[in-house]
Symmetry: C2
Subunit: 218 residues, 2 copies
């Protein structure tokens, strides 16, 4: 019964996600669904990415169990942000996104960033109509995450490896991490960044611009 | 319907958890349920704690979505460990623990450590019969976690603040973290540790021994 109900819930979610996908496409909006553990630095990554995408329309949907803090941080960059407080739920779903974007002006021909609830497991199952899932991992979490949480690595188009400025102080094995990620998903790209030093952020911004161009040409 | 089903599932879980609690008590076993984000250092904490509790019987139940890696790491300390692979599920529940401890000898008059799936949201709702929930937070995750994920801070008896050796390299505000934790739960204890340098681990081991003594005297 639990499995049947879950199937039913996911099916309804996916139907709405397909509608959202059409909406984004009709506005030329490249939508990113960012998934990570709590504290991997998704909001910091957004704060640093937005100035590198000057000239593009942008909007942000923030997901958290509680608090408006992340949306407030993003708004300081000048980009509109809507906060979803899930009040206990461990992931965002398509109906939440539908409600949130009703409060936003569509960032025509630009980017919609969705920052999911900090959780490396549950958000992976819920399609939000995004063009790409992004998994963010910080080096302080350890290099063993791809083997332990393979679903998100299988489903993401890109892995942002964050907090590389802390590599000298942590027992993170970069080579072993790459091998483990590629064993799960050989097509995924890995981009190393540090939101503290700014290293690698240009590469990440280029990835976004290039994928958006491909998406619009598609 | 979803809410009703969740209530039913939790009720069944809690009935079994009450039985497990009686089992632990009858063996004089102090059971700890460790909850954190992925990569906060729960397994490292166990590896460092076990040698400090020499003389006590111990056993470990490891929870992960996939892989036997954490149980293998714990077994190297000489303590028996059973790995639960949840195959996608985002938390441990009481039936999983019942199956796992059937494979273990009860650590009479000692400690049973349960390391939950790395997830700061879902595991909080599932009673495993433990005497205490422990929330582990690493300083690299940021000081804003108590406000964003209050449920686990409300339900835990102690918060282990890990990776304090990285404080000089991270924008973590210790004072603000303490204030936010205490705003959610004024009775929770906070113990600062570094599994890299060993700092604070004696205080954590003393906490475990003292709580165990109180539990047995109760």
């Amino acid at each position: 019964m639990r499995i049947e109900l879950k199937k039913h819930v996911l099916h309804a979610n996916n139907e709405l996600a397909a509608e959202l996908r059409d909406t984004y496409k009709s506005h030329g909006v490249y939508c990113i669904n960012m998934i990570s553990s709590p504290g991997s630095g998704k909001t910091s990554l957004l704060e640093k990415t937005i100035p590198l995408l000057g000239g593009y329309n942008m909007a942000v949907v923030e997901g958290d169990v509680l608090t408006e803090r992340d949306a407030e941080r993003v708004r300081k960059t000048g980009v509109p942000a809507v906060q979803i407080e899930t009040s206990g739920a461990c992931h965002l779903d398509a109906p939440m996104i539908q409600n949130a974007i009703a409060e936003l002006q569509m960032p025509d021909n630009g980017f919609l960033f969705i920052e999911n609830v900090g959780n490396l497991v549950c958000p992976t199952s819920y399609d939000l109509g995004e063009a790409a899932k992004v998994v963010v991992i910080s080096v302080t979490e350890g290099d063993d995450k791809p083997g332990k949480y393979p679903a998100i690595f299988m489903n993401a188009k890109v892995c942002v490896l964050n907090k590389t400025d802390l590599l000298p102080y942590t027992p993170f094995d970069v080579e072993s991490f790459y091998a483990d990620v590629k064993a799960v998903n050989k097509d995924i790209e890995i981009i190393e960044v540090s939101c503290q030093t700014g290293e690698g952020l240009d590469k990440w911004a280029d990835w976004l611009k290039n994928r958006r161009n491909e998406f619009l040409a598609d």
